[in-house]
């Protein structure tokens, strides 16, 4: 992208006025003051202290910051917190049961060695969670799974085990539903 000169100086009253933002995170309704320019990813990490949502690139490419916004996977680095006013957000902290029992997707990632350093993992889990909740009978072909996972980058695993974990998640979720 080409460099452009900012057309407008920073507004005269550069006080960064804050506005109240109320949203539901993992079932709990919270209100915080945030500057309109605060990204949802920063709001989740710095205002709410939920640091499981990771930040890699801040331009939508890596997928580390993926959360669900009103039930659908979305990049928290490509939304301002004010845009999520009134929304329901789910982060990786809200995926396992209260007693610590892992969600089938988390269990599958563990069993299949779907992670190494773990930096990308919350984003992968949230993308899979949103997709599998949206799609009752997912296509389990290699191509289809890789398409679903294409929005998340992993620098460690080489993806093969994450694809396996996707299939295993479906098995575990189906078993839990029976």
């Amino acid at each position: 992208m080409a460099k452009t000169v900012l057309k407008k100086p920073i507004p005269a009253a550069s006080s960064d006025p804050k506005v109240p933002v109320t949203l539901t995170v993992n079932g709990e309704t919270v209100t915080r003051e945030a500057s309109p320019r605060m990204l949802l990813s920063d709001f989740i990490r710095h205002e709410l202290g939920l640091t499981g949502t990771h930040v890699g690139c801040e331009h939508g490419v890596c997928g580390c910051c993926t959360v669900t916004i009103d039930g659908r996977a979305g990049r928290s680095c490509l939304a301002f917190a004010v845009q999520a006013d009134g929304a329901e957000i789910r982060t990786i902290e809200g995926v396992a049961d209260e007693d610590g029992t892992l969600h089938p997707i988390q269990q599958a990632m563990m069993e299949c060695h779907g992670l190494q350093c773990g930096y990308c993992t919350p984003g992968f889990v949230m993308s899979m969670l949103s997709y599998l909740e949206e799609t009752p009978e997912p296509d389990l072909s290699e191509k289809a799974i890789r398409e679903v996972l294409s929005g998340n980058l992993c620098r460690c695993t080489g993806y093969a085990n994450i694809v396996k974990a996707f299939r295993r998640s479906v098995e575990l979720m189906n078993a839990a539903a029976d």
């Binding site: 900012l6 057309k7 490509l78 301002f80 949103s130 398409e147 294409s150």
Partner: protein
């Protein structure tokens, strides 16, 4: 990096949004944010005011009637991609949207935002040009309609004024018997394409009747490949006709060499995508 300071408003009507834009010449509408926010994060753009369109009910929804698919500007990509009625009326829609970014981006990105953003490699503008779609825009002096050919001016530049809001995108349904195909090539799944081609054609008595072909990623805006269309009309859609259409497409390449591809490579790609989409479209047209 983090965005520069801005004022934020989220009005509930198009009129109020237009007024908010008119009050500050650096104001910009905010739709899904999937293109605007990255540029703000990198400080490639720094609007003084963002007018968030998310509360405006009138900008949502999909209606299929009278041979037209009407899509509210704030409809998310994923919603259109998975909309049965829209895809039945024009199956190119799903085929095109499948190539736009990734599911998480399509869950947020909007149809109006993609069109207004007018990236020269973007798929939806190419679809609009290929199908001859139109958009409605509303500004301080009322609303007007713009055809796809008059909308896209240059990379990331449309004929909308800064105070105008794109309210609706209208995509024609495909007439029965029309063959269609979209194909693109990108280095990685979900990236903007190095080149993409959208082809529509009919086959009557074994010969090509109507043909409309448009491409993205090959110049400053999506373009109709009229010479490639001419190479097909009235002919049997065989290997020779496909090859001629591919060759005729080469003259439309105006994109300079960039980090991803040289001019010769991209031109070959364009010709290949024309041949392939013509083959698929002809097959689907029953030819």
């Amino acid at each position: 990096m983090k965005p520069a300071l801005f004022d934020y408003v989220a009005p509930e009507t198009v009129e109020a949004a237009v007024a908010a834009l008119a009050g500050d010449e650096t104001a910009r509408p905010l739709a899904g944010g999937q293109s605007l926010i990255p540029t703000m994060n990198f400080r490639l753009s720094a609007p003084g005011r963002l007018v968030d369109l998310r509360r405006i009910e009138a900008l949502r929804g999909i209606a299929v009637a009278d041979g037209t698919i009407r899509v509210g500007a704030m409809t998310r990509h994923r919603e259109l991609e998975t909309h049965e009625g829209a895809n039945r009326a024009n199956p190119l829609i799903g085929e095109v949207l499948d190539n736009v970014a990734h599911i998480a981006i399509r869950n947020r990105g909007t149809v109006g935002g993609s069109i207004a953003h007018a990236d020269s490699a973007a798929e939806l503008p190419c679809l609009l040009v290929a199908t001859g779609g139109t958009v409605s825009v509303q500004g301080p002096d009322g609303s007007r309609e713009i055809g796809a050919d008059d909308l896209f001016r240059f990379h990331m530049t449309t004929s909308l004024a800064q105070t105008e809001i794109l309210t609706e995108v209208r995509i024609p349904a495909l007439p029965p018997g029309t063959g269609y195909a979209f194909e693109e090539f990108a280095r990685r799944r979900g990236d903007y394409a190095l080149a993409g081609v959208c082809t529509l054609l009919t086959v009557e008595d074994g010969r090509c009747g109507e043909a409309r072909i448009a491409a993205c990623g090959i110049g400053a805006r999506p373009v109709r490949l009229a010479a490639a269309e001419d190479a097909l009309r009235g002919r049997a859609v065989d290997d020779a006709a496909r090859a001629d259409a591919g060759e005729a497409a080469r003259e439309y390449m105006t994109a300079p060499a960039d980090m991803q591809a040289g001019v010769a490579y991209r031109t070959d790609l364009l010709a290949a995508l024309v041949r392939r989409t013509v083959a698929t479209a002809a097959r689907r047209a029953g030819g």
